[in-house]
Symmetry: C2
Subunit: 342 residues, 2 copies
């Protein structure tokens, strides 16, 4: 049976929300099991509060935890018995393990992912790829959104290839439309990096490149994939997150201001609920770290059970959709020049 | 009497909404007059529909218009009798003219501004600086948001100086908090440009630098100024714009879905109205092009009267607050190394 490793100790709400989220995922899909890495006593204490099928839950005890205060590069080397490192090694080594989910330190997931799981042949730089909710009710994949602050044109072209393969494999998008996130729609827009990436994407086989897009197009959903350098992709992701949270905060403030406004809320609850649902990116799970030999999913550090569950499902879907095979094949079909320059 | 030049022919809704917005601004403040540049017949036809004090409106006829189809750099050179070029020249040449507002081609405003109005002594690169609504109900200044796609660390340090001066001069912010927009809050985050800019901003006299900020912090309003390279600043601005418009679109869709939901809307109209007001950046006017010898304000291309009016008021406030003098003085007090390398 397929197994997904879940780092039970990673994130602000570990282990309780992580364990809960993993168990809830088991209820949504019947065709997999979870392996929880972390402090066995703590994990068992959480499991005892829940109802679950014990035959589908395995615990691998680890004595250490990597926190956000650790320096990622040294922590993944020194904390060999941490839930994160042990989890990534299980992913690498065990054939029955198809994916890994962590809400822990982003830096440690990225460094550890490359170090222990390794890159698919030909991948210049793995990239973080979350789904952003759009007005159509689907998701726009944003790749890269933070793994690579400094990029070269060839990296961006590969992000387009990998995210297209992901859109096909995990969400069944037929011929994903790919846009390049820049500061204007015209072809000549952007700095030299993006101007060169534009020309490369145009020529990249298998990428349905529709041209430059602007920040606002991410949520308009006219493209399936927004290709971005990791720096401005991260800025876009967090700007959208901040706007969504600001909207929620203003609504909460206004609807709680008085008895009258509380009654107004009851009246409009359904519509407000739909808006909040649309803005809730947690329902899509985490960011896939595209380009590794197996599916690594980084869930938000503040993840609660309701966002761990879709992250685990995401890992299952990535495996079932043959994400890795699709990326390998797509990359083999392109001829993007570049060297693996660590 | 102080005069503000308004490019009556610039933008998607010119000249009707532009003329209307300018006339409405005259009603809000009594201490200035407007000079409208553009086709005199068309402008007069619009003015005839409105009630206004004729002694405070001057028209300067021009026979040409720069459109978004024109190449900005050549258009400002070849279309010398365009409403935009004539307006900028009036700003430069006439002592009684204190500011300029256009909703026309951004590229033409930027190129024309530098060419005809000129930079303040010591300014490496002028920068576009809009106000983004934040959850506190005030505005976060985002500088640069598109004038400079490629930046050097010294430019970013100057953006911090200029936007701080603007926050003081136009909005009375005492000791503006300045953050650097990057892909993470930690000091080492970002590419080499932002790492160097971080160190420079720390040392820049007169800048109250609070460190790196992320995209979400723009709308949280914990800083008064977000310093950014023009590329990622533009991505942030438009990502926020897209999110805001998506929220409005979802609300409109949900509240118009049925008779029942229309009744819900009536119930919650006040609260929804407050949310829409918070998100409405048009109420802040346009983006000031900081670093020029006089105040140039770029209003959104789709501006209607209700966003032209605050843009004109913004120009008046910038003049009254001695924006230019403040920027000159602040820059003279810093020692940012760099050359004017056009």
């Amino acid at each position: 049976m397929l197994k997904i490793v879940v780092d039970a100790m990673g994130g602000d709400n570990a282990p309780s929300e992580i364990v809960k989220g993993a168990v809830l995922a088991l209820k949504e899909r019947k065709d997999f099991a979870v392996v929880l890495t972390g402090d066995e006593n703590l994990i068992r204490a959480e499991l005892e509060k829940l109802r679950y099928d014990a035959s589908r839950v395995e615990i691998v005890h680890c004595s250490e935890v990597i926190t956000n205060d650790d320096v990622p590069t040294s922590a993944v080397r020194s904390k060999r018995d941490s839930s994160l490192v042990v989890g990534l090694k299980l992913l690498k080594e065990r054939e029955d393990v198809g994916g890994f989910v962590s809400a822990g330190s982003t830096g440690a997931v990225l460094t550890g992912g490359i170090m222990f799981v390794g890159r698919i042949k030909g991948v210049l730089r793995p990239a973080l790829c979350p789904g952003i909710p759009n007005v159509r009710g689907t998701r726009t994949l944003l790749c890269d959104c933070g793994a690579n602050a400094e990029c070269k044109p060839a990296y961006l072209a590969q992000f387009g290839v990998m995210a297209s393969a992901y859109a096909k494999a995990a969400f069944g998008v037929e011929n994903p439309r790919v846009g390049l996130l820049t500061n204007g729609a015209e072809e000549h827009k952007g700095d030299s990096l993006h101007q060169e990436a534009h020309q490369l994407l145009k020529q990249t086989k298998g990428v349905n490149f529709v041209g430059n897009i602007e920040g606002r197009d991410i949520m308009y959903g006219d493209v399936d994939v927004a290709v971005s350098d990791g720096f401005s992709g991260n800025v876009a992701l967090k700007s959208i997150e901040g706007c969504g949270k600001t909207v929620s905060a203003v609504l909460n403030r206004e609807f709680r201001a008085s008895l009258g406004s509380k009654l107004s809320y009851l009246c409009a609850k359904k519509q407000i609920g739909k808006l909040k649902y649309m803005l809730d990116y947690a329902r899509f799970g985490g960011s896939v770290f595209l380009g590794l030999k197996k599916a690594v999913i980084k869930s938000h550090g503040s993840s609660k059970a309701k966002s761990i569950t879709p992250s685990v499902i995401q890992a299952v879907d990535a495996y079932r959709g043959n994400l890795i095979g699709n990326i390998s094949e797509a990359l083999a079909g392109t001829a993007i020049e570049g060297t693996i320059d660590e």
